[in-house]
């Protein structure tokens, strides 16, 4: 199944094959810097140390693209 990531504000989706992954690694895999995005897990912003699993809702907000 993997981890489904929703990008905001454009609602594009990406699925990572891992079942669990650290937020820091998500940011690296998406070729973003930690300063230009905010990762939200189940509606709450999280730090880069957090591990997320496939049953959680993961949103990545590209800060400079938000109105």
């Amino acid at each position: 199944m993997g981890i489904r990531i929703i990008f905001l504000p454009n609602n594009e989706e990406v699925v990572l094959s891992e079942r669990c992954i650290r937020v820091r690694d998500i940011i690296r895999r998406l070729c973003l810097s930690s300063e230009e995005c905010v990762v939200i897990v189940d509606g709450v912003p999280v730090t880069e140390d957090r591990i997320v699993c496939e049953d959680q809702k993961v949103e990545v907000v590209k800060v400079f693209s938000v109105g």
Partner: protein, 324 residues
């Protein structure tokens, strides 16, 4: 799980430049204190001031409004929120609804200025099309003019905007690239008072764009996250901000130290670029020529300079003081 550096609860954000990890409550108070320090450091607001909050309903302006409303009791100043409805189809209505919700939530007096109504049925996109000019440039002229007119009608001490640290660093670098020192000298936390122009203040001058977003999510403030449909997809601004965020990641705090140094030196740029200020012969607003930009574009698009008429309509709206 990362823990809050101050209380040990689960952290929601890392503040690299301050070497802190903060939980929800400590993050919110950290940002609010940061804005208060900016107000104190640069003397943005004084006791008894009336501050116009320019709210577009994007994340930055709603964050600014939320914090300034909260600080208004402590620092004893008055706030009035203003929203300009630009009449952009399928977009402006969402912004307007979010503004109404924000005013209700913050319990603040809010005015909505309907641009289409003021410009005789034309929105900014129609105006730009008729003028054959880029929409963002026309929109900027209209917004600056109307905000100043509203603030004057309200007898306000200043207009607060939601420009954040990332915006300001980006604008300063862009104006340097264009060698536009006159514009550069205005990119400080507070613009110099000029008779006829209400000073602009930027309380989020040292708050990063990432922080305003996290603040809005944590405070659950209503904001519209979709960008303007006319905003260019890959603008120089976004590219510059992305490049600068890589530098910030490498050297945390770089943008804030740059901005503080810039403020210390900004007056030097002003001396090199002194512009003679005149009054518009049609509406009396300050201008660099005998006709202000708003009167120029309305004359070209609508056949007559609309400055004076628009000012009168705004004054009537303010006098009615009907809360929207």
């Amino acid at each position: 799980m990362a823990k809050c550096s101050l209380c040990g609860n689960e952290a929601v954000a890392t503040i690299r430049y301050a070497r802190l990890k903060l939980c929800k409550d400590h993050f919110i108070s950290f940002i609010q204190r940061k804005v208060k320090r900016t107000i104190d450091r640069y003397g943005l607001i004084e006791r008894g001031h009336r501050v116009v909050l320019a709210v577009s309903s994007g994340k930055d302006s709603v964050c600014m409004a939320d914090i300034l409303v909260k600080l208004s009791k402590e620092l004893a100043y008055e706030v009035v929120a203003i929203h300009l409805d630009l009449g952009i189809e399928g977009y402006s209505s969402k912004l307007r609804a979010a503004f109404v919700e924000l005013c209700t939530r913050l319990n603040v007096v809010g005015f909505i200025i309907d641009v289409v109504e003021l410009l005789g049925g034309m929105n900014v996109a129609d105006l730009a099309k008729k003028l054959r000019r880029p929409i963002c440039s026309v929109c900027g002229i209209v917004k600056r003019y109307l905000l100043n007119a509203v603030a004057e009608a309200l007898n306000a001490s200043s207009i607060a905007t939601g420009h954040n640290a990332d915006d300001m660093v980006c604008y300063i670098i862009k104006s340097f690239l264009n060698q536009d020192y006159a514009y550069m000298s205005k990119l400080t936390p507070k613009t110099c008072p000029v008779p006829g122009a209400v000073p602009r203040i930027r309380p989020l001058y040292e708050v990063y764009e990432r922080e305003t977003l996290i603040y809005c999510i944590l405070r659950q403030i209503p904001y519209v996250h979709t960008p303007c449909p006319y905003a260019p997809r890959r603008s120089l601004d976004v590219e510059l901000k992305r490049a600068l965020s890589l530098l910030e990641e490498h050297s945390p705090g770089l943008k804030i130290s740059f901005l503080r140094r810039f403020v210390r030196n900004a007056s030097k740029y002003k001396q090199e670029s002194a512009v003679y200020v005149q009054r518009c012969s049609y509406c009396g607003s300050i201008s660099s020529s005998s006709k202000c930009a708003f009167c120029k574009i309305t004359e070209k698009a609508l056949g007559k300079p609309m400055g004076m008429e628009v000012k009168k309509k705004i004054e009537a709206l303010i006098q009615n003081r009907d809360r929207r």
